[in-house]
């Protein structure tokens, strides 16, 4: 697609006049400057004419041209060259390849455009930048690579859902995730599983197949996706074949992962000391009986120590439970691809096998993926093609972060409990403080398998050089099977005494048809016009079923066919459709004044009968100042471009039937069928509307060696789709309404520099973005999420709202809180109280970073290359919801973080940890005690690679041999004391549930070695 459009773009450039002159035949060969290989399919054009040809399979060409003519050689992935013919009859050309030449063309949705002429804001990440990153899904590989794009892994579990925010959160209740479109097909990207820990359907994509990822950020770029564009649009384009000799690429990489960080917990001596003290303090305070320490508590210790009193008294049992939660985590990945073709037919085929173990016990991820991309020129005018991807992903999953069975909750177990009960020589089970997650390791399985088919067929017909029509029919079929079995040993967790089996299937079938005309023409040599006009239809049909059974004869039987008691079963479905018409026109005057208008009419089944269709227009202008004659005297400035855009986009990502008044028939009772009112009708329900203004400046200095972009944007979202809390006395909890507005404002800054050129190449690429989110109006509503997150007027979404911890009373060790009563004059009562109920809740933090960014450096010398990417964010806070159990100064028998040893012990002690009091709730209320700064800077990726010299590779008949070593998440700089500052507890993650930690696993630090062979 890139190539066709580039050709038509060139056609447009040269459309008008033919120059008549004395002509002669010019021949030559085009080769790659990189490796000297011949380049077939290179476009050779006589400048200013319609005359052109392509190089043949050996890179040769032949064309008639006058001596005063200029030849343009252009090819996707290479920098175009212009060469004056002069008197030569042979012109051999070497084209230099460069990742940046790719970025000269951006994918715009139903088309492509030259970056130079773009008036919107699109961030492009090439597939080469993220290829072979040792992560499971491409969003992770995008971290730190695009301005304005914040990617957060919820925790370190493989295959887990991700959060992506493009220019902030634009919605409170509807989705804040962007629309993902792969080769024109809107993808199923929302979790379809049954667990509250979301599973990521995008992990089915082998991102080594990706040619480029284009992220549409401003209204001008995104409005062509209308009602689904408010959160930005991520366009994924897969690789296409190149005509010429078939090139094979084989690669293998292997490595292993470790947690980025561990936390420090009490050992047995410390545990016994702290809890004995906590009990004694309870006795002294009079709320525990005198005998509680030597009686109840010591017998409890002995019980936890598997009956071994000496074990806890002398510390002969001292278990590091945290270490038990992790496992060895090797990974291996094999990729093979072939691409080639002739001038009529081109193909790209690939296959991938990935097998990765997670750092947490029982966590694994395997992907098998195959792709065929094929296009064929049936005639000069008609091109047909097909892109098909088949994938199977097998994900060994874990319980959500809130489950006793999730591996990291193991750290709550006291160190006085042995891993193996010496009385039985089996895993410590029923007598432990909580369920032992190791029982799930040994006696359960939880496997999600997805079968994915993403593909389309297309036909493109060129009516004339200025007009073509393209029709695509695509589908994304997602089948997800979850298969779980929990043996009788896990009954303490499942409640099923003799085994629990669960099996579910989800099938989401998503059809898309895109049909559009593309026009392009140049008038009078200086008016360039191109336009796109078309329609698209999408229908998604989902069906789900599941069955649960209990009572299995033994753990050898794990399928529900062996269950004696089928306890639950269900089937359900959900559908939606979109019907849309879109148009876009770009106008360029003398290559320096740019204008673009676009619009989309979107109809959706999701919206109320009164508001089924919406119109989303956008317009943008650009001025390439360096094209002005008055700029000619400034040679250091190679590009200066000012652009601005304004437009309207929508957000339709709500439930499929939210506008209806609904009854549900699931209210049966003891086998008698029943129904219940479920939802209050809202026929006026409509899209959220976001107007966005973007002003941008692009510049290039020193022939483009230093280039950059600065953008300022304001996104105003109104008619928020809001799940408004209604009085519960109505019998309902919430109603979805269009109420309120919010805004995101921000700066984006992108800089690219070729610091050195020549034999030693050093490039730097930097992106920084600062987004400020503010909820302007929620009609007085307060919408809560997470532990203490809320959406409230005047504050950023998800602000932490709770009482404010004031430290410890030095006199008595009580936890203190600021009262924070607001006085009539607007000031706050800063006196303290030891009763959390007497303290007023205030905003204590913000989960949204003030600044996000990434900086990558690439060093190349001969075949040696070193790439290093730092990524980070600052200005955000993290709330550790597990703090009230983990760092609770001995409030309950959970093992504690070592910092709890700093507890208050005697009058005069100055500390931040209150007196240890068993059951005393001394400081355990949700409060700013468990809030911390979440700033971090991370060495996200470092890759050292070596391309063997062709002198050696040729000897073994290979075009290319590259060996590399890559590290992911190698270093993390943060003051956050939890496991990892990149966190958002999976079961709470949402629009408002942001920045929460709850026994959430750290990210993986991964080191791999790999080899690529090209032949």
């Amino acid at each position: 697609m890139i190539r066709t459009s580039l050709l038509s773009f060139l056609c447009c450039l040269v459309f008008c006049t033919a120059v008549l002159a004395q002509e002669a035949r010019v021949t030559g060969t085009v080769t790659s400057a990189e490796d000297g290989s011949s380049l077939p399919g290179v476009s050779v054009q006589v400048k200013g004419t319609q005359r052109g040809t392509q190089t043949d399979a050996t890179g040769g060409y032949s064309i008639e041209a006058a001596p005063n003519a200029v030849l343009i050689f252009s090819f996707v992935g290479f920098i175009p060259q212009e060469i004056a013919v002069g008197s030569s009859s042979t012109i051999n050309v070497q084209l230099a390849g460069d990742i940046r030449s790719l970025s000269e063309v951006v994918v715009t949705g139903y088309g492509t455009q030259s970056k130079r002429n773009l008036t919107g804001n699109i961030a492009k990440v090439s597939g080469a930048e993220i290829a072979n990153t040792p992560v499971t899904t491409f969003e992770q590989a995008l971290q730190g690579r695009a301005a304005g794009v914040q990617v957060t892994s919820l925790n370190g579990k493989l295959g887990q859902g991700m959060q992506m925010r493009i220019r902030g959160s634009s919605s409170v209740t509807a989705s804040n995730e962007p629309l993902y479109v792969l080769d024109g097909i809107p993808l199923t990207s929302r979790d379809q599983g049954t667990s509250t820990a979301p599973q990521n359907p995008l992990a089915d994509i082998n991102f080594n197949d990706i040619e480029s990822i284009d992220i549409l950020k401003d209204a001008s770029a995104a409005a062509i996706y209308g009602a689904r564009a408010s959160n930005g649009v991520v366009l994924i384009t897969t690789k296409k074949g190149k005509s010429g000799k078939t090139k094979f690429n084989v690669s293998y990489q292997m490595g292993s992962s470790k947690p980025t960080r561990l936390r420090q917990w009490l050992n047995t001596a410390q545990y016994v000391e702290l809890f004995s003290e906590a009990v004694q303090n309870g006795i002294d305070a009079g709320y525990l009986p005198e005998s509680y320490l030597t009686g109840s508590t010591y017998s409890r210790f002995t019980r936890y120590a598997a009956g071994d009193q000496a074990g806890w008294e002398n510390g002969t049992i001292d278990t590091d439970w945290q270490a038990e939660a992790f496992q060895k985590a090797p990974m291996g990945q094999f990729d093979i691809s072939a691409s080639g073709g002739d001038d009529k037919t081109r193909f790209f085929v690939s296959a991938q096998a990935l097998d990765q173990k997670g750092i947490l016990i029982k966590n694994s991820f395997k992907r098998l993926s195959g792709r065929v991309n094929l296009d064929h020129k049936a005639t000069d005018r008609l091109t047909l093609g097909v892109n098909v991807n088949l994938a199977r992903t097998v994900n060994g999953r874990l319980s959500n972060d809130n489950a006793f069975s999730t591996p990291l909750q193991i750290i709550a177990l006291p160190p006085i409990t042995p891993v193996i009960d010496p009385r039985t020589n089996e895993l410590s089970g029923n007598y432990t403080l909580y369920f032992n997650p190791l029982l799930n390791r040994d006696f359960s399985s939880n496997v999600s398998t997805s079968y994915r088919t993403i593909g389309n067929i297309f036909a493109e017909y060129r009516f004339a050089n200025w007009l073509k029509f393209r029709s695509e029919v695509g589908t994304d079929i997602y089948n997800l099977n979850e298969d779980q079995y929990f043996g009788k040993e896990t009954s303490r967790n499942t409640g099923a005494p003799n085994g629990l089996g669960f099996s579910s299937w989800a099938q989401v079938t998503n059809y898309t048809s895109n049909n559009f005309f593309t026009l392009g023409h140049t008038f009078a040599d200086r008016h360039d016009v191109d336009a796109t006009l078309g329609m698209t239809f999408q229908k998604s049909e989902a069906s789900f079923n599941s069955v649960t059974g209990q009572e299995f004869p033994s753990n050898a039987y794990t399928k529900i066919i062996s269950s004696a008691n089928i306890t639950a079963g269900s089937s359900s479905g959900s559908n939606f459709s979109f019907l849309s018409y879109f148009a876009r026109a770009n106008y360029r005057f003398e290559n320096k004044y740019l204008l673009s208008v676009s619009g989309r009419v979107d109809g959706s089944s999701r919206f109320g009968a009164n508001n089924r269709y919406g119109f989303f227009p956008a317009a943008s202008v650009g001025w390439i100042i360096t094209e002005e004659s008055f700029m000619e005297g400034i040679p250091t400035l190679s590009l200066l471009k000012l652009r601005g855009s304004y437009g309207l986009t929508g957000n339709a990502e709500i439930g499929n039937f939210d506008s209806y008044g609904l009854y549900r028939g699931d209210a049966g009772y003891a086998g008698v069928p029943g129904q219940r009112p479920e939802q209050i009708e809202n026929p006026d329900l409509r899209w959220e509307q976001t107007t966005q203004t973007d002003i941008g400046l692009e510049f290039g200095l020193f022939s483009g060696r230093l280039s950059g972009e600065v953008d300022y944007y304001i996104k105003n979202t109104r008619d928020l789709l809001l799940n408004v809390n209604v009085p519960g006395t109505s019998g309902f909890r919430t109603q979805l309404r269009n109420i309120g507005n919010l805004e995101n404002k921000g700066w984006e800054f992108v800089l690219r520099s070729d610091n050195t050129t020549g034999a030693f190449k050093w490039n730097t690429s930097l992106n920084l973005s600062a987004n400020r989110n503010k909820i302007v109006n929620l009609d007085g509503q307060v919408i809560t999420g997470g532990f203490i997150n809320r959406a409230v007027e005047g504050q950023p979404i998800g602000s932490f709202f709770s009482i404010e911890y004031a430290g410890v009373d030095p006199d008595n060790g009580d936890a203190l809180y600021y009262r924070n009563d607001e006085r009539p004059d607007g000031t706050f009562d800063r006196t303290t109280t030891n009763n959390p109920n007497e303290a007023q809740r205030v905003i204590i933090g913000n989960p949204n970073p003030k600044l996000i960014g990434g900086i990558s450096n690439s060093f190349a010398y001969k075949g040696l290359e070193f790439n290093i990417l730092f990524q980070g964010q600052t200005g955000n806070d993290i709330y550790n919801g597990g703090g009230k159990f983990q760092s609770a100064n001995g409030d309950f028998f959970d093992n504690q973080t070592v910092d709890q040893l700093d507890r208050w012990q005697k009058p005069g002690d100055i500390t931040n940890v209150p007196q240890a009091r068993l059951f005393g709730a001394n400081g355990t209320a949700e409060s700013s005690r468990y809030l911390q700064r979440g700033d971090y800077l991370r060495l996200k990726n470092a890759t050292l690679s070596y391309n063997l010299p062709s002198a050696i590779t040729n000897r073994v008949k290979l075009d290319r041999v590259r060996v590399y070593v890559t590290g992911q998440n190698l270093l993390t700089f943060t003051k956050y004391t939890g496991w990892d500052p990149e966190v958002n507890a999976d079961y709470l993650a949402g629009n408002i549930g942001l920045g929460n930690d709850f026994y959430s696993a750290p990210q993986a630090k991964t080191i791999i070695v790999g080899i690529n062979l090209g032949f």
Partner: protein, 455 residues
Amino acid sequence: MAYLFKNILPYALTGSLLLLGGCASQLDVKPVNTIDAGAAVATSGDVAALLVGAYDALGDLDVYGGNIQRDADLLGDNGEIFFDGTFVAPDEIFRKSMLVNNGQAEVTWLDSYRAINIANNVLANLDVVTEGDRARVEGEAKFIRGTLYFELVRNYAKAWTDGTPSANPGVPLVLEPTVEITEQAKVSRNSVSEVYAQVIKDLTEAETKLPESNGFFATKYAAAGMLSRVYMMQQKYPEAANAATRVIDSKKYSLVNTAEVFDLRVNQNGFNTAEDIFAIQLTSQDGLNALNTFYGAPEYGGRGDILIEDAHLALYENGDRRAELFYVAENGNTYTSKWINQYGNIKILRLAEMYLTRAEANFRNDSSIGASPASDINLIRARAGLSAIPATSLTIGAIMKERHLELAFEGHLIHDIKRTKGTVGGLAFDSPKLVYPIPLRETDANANLTQNPGY
């Protein structure tokens, strides 16, 4: 070129247009799992299904599925049980230190009003009910509504015995179904006495309209039994004794052996015994037994959170068969057997309570409505294998102890303390700490609701 324009372009364009034309109707996508509210209640059968929906909501785990009963025993405990669990909300209730955002106070409120709204929908659609069924349907809906307002007012407001009921705020009375959410949805609290009046009105009408037998659904005697509780909370002893007598004299129910009162099987679908007047029905496929969840040991499907302390076990006399309703679990803790079957029914009203209520009411009233206090108490004692107490030496203490042991862990404790003006854990019966907060979420959503003292 001309060929193409003549032959291909028209097809391409027509094709696209056809596609467009065919698509517009594709936007009418109907819900798959649910139906349009406007069409949901059209026939007598639809109302019947809605009524079943009201029972389903009544049996929700945060309502009569067990959490209301659990919390009455946690809040009223004086050291006979120990809450060993991690759930914050019941832990706060057990420690009598509820915070204003207590999660249980929130969901019990929300789910109770959800059930009330369904009952209100039934009552608003009585006109489509077949005439022969109409009185019964009305009676059942009013039983559910009256019962829930009773639970709400005695948990979220000051006790009837605390101050002036007509001056104390109760809970909002919503008696019409919600069809839209307007400003009027921001209701205020009615007084305690207004709520009690509505409860008595609903339950009295229910008693009148309900049949004597109605499968496992509410009957005339379920309504009378619930009324006896309401009157006891108001210290209206003759009314309470009369209501209990109506149940006892119906001869529909009989005391069963101690070992059969509760379902001591495990993992089997529940059933009602001859003693049960009203119980929430459970099967392995429908409903959750929250009492099993918290009182049951892990090997019986529970969390094993509520341990029975020696202080309770020591209360039983030698030979009391009820002392056998405990077991030591694999983890070494002692639990009650009453809720050992995770699919067992949850008993709301059983005949033994009627005898205990009548005995206490008559004793306090110095009357013998239906029977003498001693004969009622000794029925219960005899069933437990204990000797009779002579009428002359019967004390209120003995009656209350009998009630305490017979109805332990069934959700009576805090309410018995409040109506008899007792104490718990050093707190007087009228301590604000023994009243739930109006859920914070609710006062946030509805500024017309006043908060209880102490929050």
